[in-house]
């Protein structure tokens, strides 16, 4: 086997490689630190594979163009950061309602508002779940290394196509701007999922048909299925409805098509949890500090384990509960004032849960985590 060459890539650049591997052929975005390299790399690479890049007038237009392109048949993505993500929420909500697959990369930075453009944060954790108004079920994945960013972006596209839904990739400034040597996956190495196309004739086609797994086959514009797409609550044909018997059907579809299949979405990394008395739960760059601290603390005999979440939403309730079953104490390490911890407290009311927060624009250090381990032990 010929030696493969590693590439030195930033997280933001790796994200584009992953997206293209997954089939991305359309990118619309608006420059914002610290996500801009995603747009720059897309602008450079997409024409080379016959794809399309457009810099829109703002983030609202960017996600709108992404949804329009996806319905027209191209796998589409946009990338932004906190303030831009806030602007996108309107049409991310539209994508939930219209069940349009697309990927939104949010390279988190400090907030609220313009906040800290060049500093790391994980304070959009909850926004990725509850950002747009209304009831729906969200999917968010969270890489922590440059290599992860490739695989998680691919996973984000696969999940978007599988579940006909927008998927958020929660990056953060540290991963986005760090360079690491990575192997890019070779053709055929990773599985790529494409949206299910209708097999019914256009006459029999029902745009938002109820199916056993809740996902309706999705044609592209121009394929003969002239259906209506609307952000208004609609019936299975795509027509607006105000009927009390039809509204819950739509909302339950949005929820159950994801909530009933969480095992296909959840992904957790576990280190040293077999005999751990203390578990550290983290994601993204905070998880790297947690893993490092676990490694350090283990060497001096502390019975500590690390649990890294690769998918934040839907929250892996059952799996996490099972993983932490043995240990009495849990440390939640995150770069915000306590967002992930609310979910942990919800699912493990019987445990002693400690929070380790950092929100000064810097990444948690392994020694800070070790210190916290020492406190709770």
């Amino acid at each position: 086997m010929p030696a493969r060459e590693r590439k030195l890539l930033q997280g933001n650049q790796a994200c584009v490689h992953g997206a293209i591997y997954a089939g991305m052929r359309f990118f619309a975005g608006y420059p914002i630190t610290p996500s801009t390299e995603v747009a720059e790399m897309s602008a450079r690479l997409l024409p080379r594979i016959g794809g399309r890049f457009i810099q829109m007038e703002d983030e609202i237009g960017s996600i709108a163009a992404v949804v329009g392109a996806s319905i027209s048949g191209l796998k589409s993505m946009t990338a932004t950061s906190g303030p831009g993500y806030s602007l996108m929420l309107e049409n991310i909500g539209y994508a939930y309602m219209t069940e349009t697959p697309c990927v939104i990369v949010n390279v988190q930075r400090g907030g609220p508002s313009t906040g800290l453009p060049t500093k790391v944060s994980q304070s959009d954790t909850m926004q990725a779940r509850y950002g747009p108004h209304g009831d729906y079920c969200a999917i968010a994945v969270a890489p922590s290394t440059v290599a992860d960013t490739v695989t998680e972006t691919i996973r984000a596209f696969n999940l978007a196509e599988r579940f006909r839904t927008p998927v958020t990739v929660l990056l953060d400034e540290v991963i986005a701007h760090s360079r690491e040597l990575i192997y890019l996956p070779e053709e055929g190495e990773l599985e790529i999922y494409n949206r299910v196309k209708p097999t019914a004739s256009p006459e029999e086609f029902e745009a938002f048909a109820l199916t056993p797994n809740g996902v309706s086959p999705m044609p592209s514009y121009g394929e003969g299925y002239r259906y209506n797409v609307t952000g208004l609550t609609h019936d299975t044909h795509g027509f607006t409805t105000n009927r009390v018997d039809e509204i819950p059907v739509k909302l339950e579809k949005l929820r159950h098509k994801i909530a009933d299949y969480t095992d296909e979405i959840e992904k957790i990394r576990v280190e040293h949890m077999d005999d751990a008395e203390v578990a550290i739960i983290a994601y993204g760059s905070a998880a790297r500090a947690a893993l490092q601290a676990t490694d350090i603390a283990r060497k001096v005999g502390a019975k500590v384990g690390a649990v890294q979440l690769y998918s934040i939403w839907p929250f892996p309730d059952a799996k996490l509960k099972e993983l932490c079953g043995r240990c009495k104490k849990v440390i939640v390490a995150e770069l915000n004032m306590g967002q992930l911890i609310t979910e942990i407290e919800r699912i493990m009311p019987d445990k002693q849960i400690t929070t380790l927060q950092r929100y000064d624009g810097e990444i948690l250090t392994p020694l800070q985590v070790v210190k916290k381990i020492e406190e709770v032990l």
Binding site: L8, V174, A289, I363, I373
Partner: protein, 191 residues
């Protein structure tokens, strides 16, 4: 046991942490990128390269870190520097406290005059670039060559390949020259 945890912990020894520092425009980030690629091209060691980002990257103090390990690199930032390259007095003053005991300090004696230790390697990188190559822009390449020679973190061959891989077209000769000077001058002061 618990109370003594912090006293006992050690920064993992499988990591080699470098910081290349200077002022904006001296090419420290590019140097760190080249160093990372040189290491990556040579063997299977892992590398994480990071830098200060933002307004400070456009002038003023500039730093770029390279963490090298044969194992998976968990924490992406430097914790305890094995090597500090300081191209200016300001960067030396800022980052010297992060250099671990017994770590390697390399300074540009053209611009650094006040060194808080006797245990260091000094070469006039900027002056060498100006006088022997004709452009000060390659001072960072001379420094990279010196790091390779003095620490053995990467071979001459791997570094040369990485530098030439990044050199803009038409500057290959000057970069080659800069590498030679760096290797030679560093060999002279190597202990």
């Amino acid at each position: 046991m618990a109370a003594k945890l912090l006293d006992k912990v050690e920064i993992p020894k499988d990591r080699y942490e470098m910081r290349l520092s200077g002022s904006g425009g001296q090419g420290m980030i590019l140097a760190a990128v080249i160093m990372s690629e040189a290491i990556g091209g040579a063997d299977e060691r892992n590398v994480v390269q990071s830098q200060s980002y933002g307004p400070e990257a456009r002038g003023g103090a500039s730093k770029a870190d390279v963490v090298v390990s044969e194992n998976e690199i968990y924490y992406p930032k430097a914790m305890n520097l094995d090597l500090l390259l300081a191209m200016t007095q300001e960067s030396l003053d800022s980052y010297y406290p992060n250099l671990k005991e017994g770590g390697t300090l390399i300074i540009d004696t053209t611009l650094v005059t006040d060194v808080p230790t006797d245990n260091y390697f000094g070469l006039p990188f900027t002056q060498l670039a100006r006088e022997k190559v004709g452009i000060i822009m390659v001072a960072n390449v001379i420094a990279l060559a010196a790091i390779a020679e003095l620490t053995g973190v990467v071979t001459r061959e791997a570094l040369t390949k990485a530098v030439l891989g990044r050199a803009p077209r038409g500057t290959e000769d000057k970069n080659r020259k800069a590498l030679e000077i760096g290797f030679e001058e560093a060999a002279k002061i190597k202990k």
